[in-house]
Symmetry: C2
Subunit: 346 residues, 2 copies
């Protein structure tokens, strides 16, 4: 079976995905008799390219990575002027959505995925926006078309979480979860525990490309909150927005508070948690003191993780260890998209 | 679809499975339109019962739990004298194998599973013996019959491990793993760190039902070794026996060694590890000093876990937290069998 792929968004993660697909193409062929070609690419600032007969992915990667425009690869007679027209003309079987996250509305990712599903494509995304703002709608739409909507990479940067709960915990009842979902704040708190000021810690996180120029989304807890909302929305099929999570960030944590905690054998973590009580879900993101008996205590620097409590297995934890360079690579997020792809085509 | 079930072995785990199946029967019906009945039960010392029209499972549970024989429930005209005849006459669709583990040969579990598969049943076990001693043969036999051979509970007491690697890490290349697989030795080492002697710690582990009267299998590393061998055998499709793992146990760890380690911020753990190097797998079980940067450092008392390193996701850890009573309940192991069941029938 041959699959035509459209890449909507062609940043670090999407390019890592393209390279990973190429690297694993022999395995895909030998194990599942699956081949693929890229028939549409939409970039943020380097143009668009569509060719239902297949684009040269190596040329597209080289062009974007040297700052050039990919529209020279566009072979199609129809005018391609935006992401939606790339989707519409790509004749793709699977659309990968990797446009920037919009916490408030989930757009334009929502429209990309609606369009793709309506055209009979599977939709795979690393984008938390459409999960939080469209999970029920998009899942129902996908089902009505006999296609799949998948988003393994939306939480914990590509490490398997949704597929673990879906495939490995059949008919288990999730009662609560607790975790550390934002690497940037965990790095900042770890550095502060070693004596750095908040400002220096933020600067360091920015210098290694982990925190953005405006670190608000991380330090005020919004990135963590949208991940909590995504897990709640999917795992309990209970719609929740980051606004409802109403996060408290780490700006209020002073060096003095951290020093006092350290002297008591404790540390501050930006704790994400949710619990199902009856038909309601209580969720929160806030800095909390944890001691060495907590599964979160040992998660330092860029490590992240989650502990699930169910009616059958008590406290099953998944941890993604910190990286030597403190950054989660785009390869990990790309692998989450790749795993979704394999699970769709196998 | 209706499934007839044979339970070969009716100890704590198998009885917890029967109760769990009954507890989840409405969910199985509503979600997958699956119903079931028990048509054969083989116990270690409370007899055998077969009835292809269905046995009264509540009566069987009550009989065994009050120390009585279940053969009063046997409705069949044919002579039922052993586990193999239970399998042969049960007309079951699925056989659950939970006889005692035999590290050296995998028997009689191997023969139970061969018989069941040859009769066209799926075979599900919590028993490490047949995984280590028959994985390739039983997997091939199952495939030839269009059936499944599953064993989620063989490692980490029912917490999902095999299904995570199978379903959530498609086409990933496992390069190594490291973990703590034996709860008894971890409890003993934790107690010794708090000042108890080795002998007192072993006695405590025995008093709570965690260690056996003869603790050899745990303290000399054989239980850990057969779990390492099972993971190596399955995840790399590379047959390995516990003898080849050649474990070193914890008898050589003195209170002085533990005190010295503690003073240096380190602790001893019975570390299980394996690494694929070319076509070969190096595996070991031995006490090792770990410091607080290790993912194993925080696993105290009865907690167990494993860290997988792959070519795509670096250091993904699964941890099953310690229980308040330090025991892993039979419910967790039973859930592993139940999860296999759902994955077979769904």
């Amino acid at each position: 079976m041959h699959y035509k792929l459209a890449l909507i968004g062609f940043g670090n993660v999407a390019r890592a995905l393209a390279k990973l697909l190429v690297r694993k193409q022999d395995l895909l062929k030998s194990k599942y008799d699956v081949t693929f070609s890229f028939t549409g690419i939409s970039t943020g600032s380097h143009g668009f390219a569509v060719n239902p007969n297949g684009l040269d992915i190596q040329k597209a990667l080289a062009l974007v990575e040297s700052g050039e425009d990919i529209s020279v690869l566009n072979n199609h007679q129809l005018p391609i002027t935006d992401s939606l027209s790339v989707i519409q003309h790509s004749q793709a079987n699977i659309m990968f959505e990797n446009s920037p996250v919009n916490t408030q509305t989930g757009q334009p990712a929502l429209d990309h995925i609606r369009t793709a599903l309506n055209l009979g494509m599977h939709a795979i995304t690393a984008n938390k926006g459409p999960v939080v703002h469209g999970y029920r709608e998009l899942t129902a739409l996908a089902k009505s078309k006999g296609k799949m909507f998948r988003f393994e990479s939306a939480v914990l940067g590509g490490a398997p979480v949704f597929s673990v709960m879906r495939e490995a915990f059949p008919l288990a009842e999730l009662t609560s979860f607790k975790g550390i979902f934002n690497a940037t704040t965990n790095v900042i708190l770890s550095l502060m525990e070693n004596g750095e000021t908040y400002d220096d810690a933020v600067k360091y996180a920015q210098s290694i490309g982990l925190a953005e120029t405006d670190p608000t989304n991380d330090v005020d807890g919004w990135d963590a909150a949208i991940k909590v909302a995504a897990l709640v929305t999917v795992l309990w099929d209970t719609p929740m927005t980051p606004q409802q999570v109403n996060p408290t960030g780490i700006r209020g944590i002073t060096p003095e508070m951290i020093a006092t905690a350290k002297a008591e054998g404790k540390r501050y973590k930006l704790v994400c948690s949710a619990e199902k009580i009856g038909d309601k879900v209580d969720a929160s993101v806030s800095p909390q003191l944890v001691d060495s008996t907590s599964s979160l205590y040992g998660m330092m620097n860029s490590s992240t993780g989650v502990t699930f409590r169910t009616d059958v297995i008590l406290d099953y934890s998944i941890t993604l260890s910190e990286k030597p360079d403190m950054k989660g690579g785009p390869l990990e997020t790309a692998y989450g998209l790749f795993a979704d792809f394999v699970n769709v085509v196998k």
